[in-house]
């Protein structure tokens, strides 16, 4: 395990430069560049704010950032799953030519998604300062461990998705459908309180995806540490996904090249 991590670290320049390249290729020739990844959630949030403000009379100054963080987190999760599926298939030319730890390819996907997540959170921070003035920075920084957990979860999910997709290429489409369903089960666009008021609080409490969002939202919006139960559920989710990724990788990596 330690040796494997060391191998990953040893070829860091390779995967870091691939992440950099991915970002550049994705927005090649586009005028707005990476701005697109920020503009889309901003626009979606603006529209939803307008609608929900009328419907439920929510406070836009709280609900706006709530939505933005929700979209940022959700976009991260969906991109590690969907782009994660392609991690190995896309990198087959490298895998066929060089012996490198396979986990670097999902890592490349997860890092790319994480950069978009960080940019979106930066916008949220700026927005919060603009809407509410300077706030206690240390309290807000409690979102960092949540972000770390979310990243590890994303890396593990991308690894599992990539491994499954090599053997069963319909994975990406299945994940697409699955994510669509989870999107509505997770308080991304609606306030979590709505479910709690209707007696469906368990859906928020035990849904790891909802917990990841809470880990980001509570510190950034309310300036207080998130509940320990959210931390607990998120940590368990990371442990399960991580164990699945490690187990599958150790069993499948030796023969993987033959299935590409």
């Amino acid at each position: 395990m330690a040796a494997y991590l060391h191998d990953i670290w040893r070829c860091r320049y390779f995967w870091l430069s691939l992440v950099q390249l991915d970002l550049r290729t994705r927005y090649r020739g586009s005028g707005l560049g990476v701005g697109w990844s920020l503009l889309r959630p901003l626009l979606m949030s603006a529209i939803l704010c307008a609608v929900f403000h009328k419907l439920f009379e929510v406070d836009i100054r709280v609900y706006g950032p709530y939505l933005l963080i929700g979209f940022a987190g959700w976009n991260f999760l969906s991109s590690v799953t969907l782009d994660g599926c392609a991690s190995f298939v896309q990198a087959d030319a490298y895998i066929r030519q060089h012996r490198a730890p396979l986990a670097i390819y999902p890592l490349r996907t997860a890092l790319g998604a994480a950069i978009h997540l960080l940019l979106a959170l930066l916008i949220v921070l700026i927005l919060m300062v603009g809407l509410h003035g300077i706030r206690p920075i240390p309290a807000m920084m409690v979102f960092a461990p949540g972000l770390g957990l979310l990243f590890l979860f994303g890396w593990a999910v991308a690894t599992v998705a990539a491994l499954v997709n090599v053997h069963f290429r319909d994975t990406q489409h299945l994940c697409d459908v699955g994510l669509q369903m989870l999107f509505y089960l997770t308080p991304v666009i609606y306030p979590a309180e709505i479910l709690q008021q209707r007696g469906m609080g368990w859906l928020v409490q035990y849904n790891p995806l909802a917990c990841f969002l809470e880990l980001l939202r509570t510190p950034l919006i309310e300036c207080r540490p998130p509940s320990s139960s959210a931390f607990g559920v998120a940590a368990i989710a990371v442990a399960i996904a991580g164990a699945a990724a490690i187990l599958m990788l150790s069993r499948l990596q030796r023969r993987l090249v033959f299935y590409l």
Partner: protein, 252 residues
Amino acid sequence: MAHIRIDQADLTFRVRRHLRASFKDYVLRGLFRKSVNPVITVHALQNVSLDVREGERVGVLGHNGAGKSTLLKMIAGIYDPNGGVCDTNGRVSSLFDLTLGFEPDATGWENIAFRCYLQGETPRSVREKVDAIADFSGLGDHLDMPVRYYSAGMTVRLAFSIATAIDPEILLVDEVLAAGDAEFQERAAQRIEDMMAQARIMICASHDLASLQRLCNRAIWLEHGRIRLSGPCPDVVAAYCQSLAPESRAAA
């Protein structure tokens, strides 16, 4: 101390007639009728034992599909044997499918960096080598262009220049002795021979028997994934040539 030890290695892989089993194949055919996409088992290498020590230059001969490339990829650590042992000690550099693994949207310069990083270089060591690589490729200003727009010959030139810019302990060469135009080929041949001279161990698969005889001091002859003959290069090449001659084929 560079050393390759292969002991009774077997390598089989299972492929399907179509690349992938579809969902339909999994469920419908699996349950109700015979699969139209059956699994085919390929015995790429069987019971191969080989011990290569420093200073040895091994040529690998055999017909197409005899397992030459598979053997090299197993030594490079890309394929793992199903049975037996394949131990490779030493920094490996492989010249296989040279044109694979370029990022088409990145420029030549950037691709030089990617390839070097993949071979374990650091930004500092790349900076030292990048000019020599650019120089050897002779691509000049074309390196500022995305590789997407390169001709096949230009891609090979770039790939070859990068792949040969490191000094490996173990060099694996698979039929890349012909690359680019005549002028480049001459320089490439020289470069390969220099590398082969420097590397502690060299293993080269080729159909070019003359150059194998010139470059190698030992040879193995693979047939259907098994080692048919192993020994000093001239003896093995002679035996291989004899088997190719029409008389012996008629006799057999």
